[in-house]
């Protein structure tokens, strides 16, 4: 059948199985928008800012594993997506961004609303395309989806000049594509698998350290099976939470800068480390020179370039996390050996003593709301089964530390880029993907302001998200660093002239609730989640001085964590190092 380029875009999305597109119209995309007008197969969600479209598509992708799709116009439409594309790129999230471009004959002319989209997005995409011929359009879209959601996933941009969306051509959507230079390996090399199994079974102080790759690869089941089979301790990165249920007895909590004492100490002392789908990021490793000095490392990753990038690896395994874990389970079972029971008992004893330090304990108060308490109550009220998105700052760390994620894809945050403004639009994507599920956006009063306009989108599509604003009237994470490392010079980290969030939510057509007493926290959360069809903006006025503990300062090692200071207010720097 002969179609216009614009119709081909819509038809290709349909044939690709896309259900939702997040977008915002404009000149160069108008033919495409016209093609959206008269069809109901692909639902278009109109956001209020293109950044919101990318985060919403990203949230949708994280919650489902499907590719998030964005449609924007040229020029400012594209530049507004950059933060969202970079956010998805850093966390390896499958996304396809379709952008309008000025007509082919104007490209390079500084035409109205022209930017070099391929050039400007190049450093933060997995790949990008400029479509030069309408005959290539369907095939290019197919390639974009294939690249975005295979191997190590990532965002792909397809830039489509306006004239091409008007031209007609015979349409067929390719069933599959082959790209001669791209063939991701999914199965681990059997020799390396056997070496890894051998190393694991001979470990005296093993640890399993996993990241977002386990979640992305839907490998939580295999990870849990391996942990159960070996009886080894397991820790997750910020991106990996939910990979192993947080209530699993062998789970040590999150590791890294604000990880638990036991997770970081176990990383420091381990002799064999199995890392799956994690990339030894600086927020995880601390000072590399002091990183796990005694460990032999097995590194499983879909991306060969992640392996050996930051640390020396004993056994590199390139492959899909799920497939490799399955292979490891088979290799371990067929080896006939068992873990070293005595060594393991001694190791667990050591770990239990670190656990005994209760690094996540905090002081409750009758007068002022502790942010950690709000997150714990959120877990209780939602039975630990909500999808929780977050922004960036202290609230993000508290959500990660205290919510307790028992399933993968429930914890949705910008780990790599650390993008304030991510939480609310991401929640839009999550809620659209899971209309019946509880979705909470744990945010701070500074972060929420960065994409606050999306409250309007939430209204238009009746999304009953619960915004949990941990309002400390500070850019808390910045304030915390200034307290610790800048002698309490709180340069521009206060939040002045804040809106009245209850009024603000109301003006967008939502319900707002202000909570300033600890005794009211649980009731307010219950009241909010009881409203199944409304967005409720919960503005919790929290303790302004609370800090995130424990902490590894920059340049320190895992064994040099700073624990929460005693109640007498001694500064952390003056306290004993753990």
């Amino acid at each position: 059948m002969e179609l216009t380029g614009a119709q081909i875009v819509v038809q290709s999305l349909k044939d690709e199985g896309v259900e939702l597109v997040f977008g915002y119209p404009g000149g160069a995309a108008l033919h495409i928008y016209d093609a959206f007008y008269s069809q109901e197969d692909v639902r278009h969600i109109l956001v209020r800012h293109e950044q919101g479209a990318t985060h919403a598509a990203d949230g949708y992708a994280r919650a489902t594993g499907k590719t998030g799709v964005v449609l924007v116009t040229s020029g400012p439409g594209v530049t507004n997506t950059i933060t969202g594309i970079a956010t998805a790129y850093m966390d390896s999230i499958p996304m396809v961004v379709l952008s309008g471009q000025v007509p082919t004959h104007l490209i390079g002319d500084d035409a109205f609303q022209e930017v070099d989209t391929v050039g400007i997005t190049r450093p933060c995409v997995k790949h990008n395309f400029l479509v030069r011929d309408v005959k290539d359009l369907a095939e290019t879209i197919k390639r974009a989806f294939y690249i975005a959601n295979s191997g190590r996933p990532g965002p792909v941009v397809v830039d489509i000049p306006k004239d091409i969306t008007a031209q007609r051509v015979e349409y067929t959507y390719p069933k599959e594509v082959r790209i001669r230079s791209y063939a991701p390996v999914t199965k681990g090399h059997s020799k390396q698998i056997n070496r890894a199994a051998d190393l694991l079974l001979n470990a005296r102080r093993p640890i399993i350290y996993t990241g977002g790759g386990v979640v992305l690869a839907n490998a939580a089941r295999q990870l849990t099976a391996l942990v159960d089979k070996l009886g080894y301790p397991c820790t997750n990165t910020l991106m990996g939470l939910g990979g192993l249920p947080s209530d699993h007895p062998l789970f040590l909590g999150m590791l890294g800068m604000h990880g638990t004492y036991e997770a970081n100490m176990a990383m420091y002392e381990c002799d064999v480390m199995l890392s799956v789908g994690a990339r030894f990021d600086d927020r995880v490793t601390g000072d590399l020179a002091k990183f796990s000095p005694k460990a032999k490392i097995i590194h499983v990753d879909i991306d060969p370039a992640s392996i050996g990038k930051n640390v020396r690896v004993e056994v590199p395994i390139v492959g899909d996390a799920g497939e490799v874990l399955d292979q490891l389970l088979v290799a371990i079972a067929s080896s006939g050996s068992l873990p070293r029971r005595d060594d393991l008992d001694a190791w667990w004893k050591m770990i239990e003593s670190w656990r005994g330090r209760e690094s996540l304990a905090y002081d409750l108060s009758d007068e002022v709301i502790k942010p950690q308490y709000v997150v714990q109550k959120l877990h209780e009220v939602t039975l630990g089964d909500a999808y929780v998105t977050s922004d960036v700052g202290q609230h993000q760390m508290w959500a990660a530390q205290y919510y307790g994620f028992n399933k993968p894809r429930r914890w949705i945050n910008s780990g790599g880029l650390g993008t304030m403004g991510f939480g609310l639009p991401a929640a839009i994507g999550v809620q659209l993907a899971h209309p019946e599920s509880a979705v909470a956006c744990v945010t701070g009063e500074a972060s929420i302001m960065m994409c606050i306009q999306e409250l309007s989108t939430c209204k238009q599509y009746d999304l009953p998200i619960k915004v949990v604003n941990l309002n400390n009237r500070y850019m808390g994470m910045v304030r915390q660093w200034q307290e610790f490392f800048y002698d309490r010079r709180y340069s521009h980290s206060y939040m002045d002239s804040l809106p009245d969030f209850v009024d603000l939510a109301t003006s967008f057509g939502h319900t707002g609730l202000r909570v300033d007493k600890p005794g009211d926290v649980e009731g307010a959360l219950r009241e909010a989640f009881a409203q199944k069809d409304r967005l409720v903006f919960l503005d919790f006025l929290t303790d302004q001085t609370e800090n995130v503990y424990p902490m590894i300062a920059a340049g320190a090692g895992h064994n040099e964590m700073v624990l929460k200071p005693a109640n007498d207010g001694t500064a952390p720097a003056e306290r004993e190092l753990a």
């Binding site: 391929v118 190049r122 450093p123 990008n128 230079s181 060969p304 370039a305």
Partner: protein, 163 residues
């Protein structure tokens, strides 16, 4: 370590900037980079000369291989190979200097390809260090212009970079 990487890349407009962008974004060195068409219209051949520790070189090759436009990559320096670079050099050559310059060109097996009353234009090919050695022999005061093509290379024997 100095490395010569040979690549076959898709003959696409964005390919060169992706590769150059990778080097600048990740802070890798480029000593030289050459690109030209091949016998296959869909492919260009690129030669990159870079330096770095073993770990950096490993990252460079992995990151290059990750680019969708990179079809094949071979580190020529891992095996026996031939390296060639073209030098075009314009020098002032007057009076007795003319003979001296001509002698040096002969020693290095170069050619004088253009002459006028005051200048010689010289062509010389060889591995990078040969060109360096030649340039060192020419007094810098008489050098008017130096044009180097950047290194090209090919593996010796049966090893070949092809699809």
């Amino acid at each position: 370590m100095r490395r010569i990487l040979s690549l076959l890349v898709e003959n696409e407009p964005g390919a060169l900037s992706r590769i150059a962008g990778l080097f600048s974004a990740r802070g890798y060195n480029i000593e030289s980079l050459t690109v030209a068409p091949t016998d296959d219209d869909s492919l260009s051949r690129m030669t990159i000369v870079t330096h770095g520790s073993e770990q950096i070189i490993e990252q460079i090759t992995k990151q290059l291989n990750k680019l969708i436009d990179v079809v094949r990559l071979l580190d020529l320096t891992e095996g026996r190979h031939i390296e060639r670079e073209l030098l075009l050099l314009k020098v002032v050559a007057q009076g007795t200097d003319r003979e001296e310059v001509k002698r040096l060109v002969d020693i290095f097996r170069g050619r004088i390809i253009d002459v006028d009353g005051e200048t010689y234009t010289i062509e010389l090919t060889g591995p990078g260090d040969k060109l360096n050695a030649f340039l060192e022999t020419i007094p810098s005061s008489s050098v008017l212009e130096v044009v180097r093509s950047g290194v090209s290379g090919i593996a010796r024997g049966e090893r070949a970079l092809r699809l």
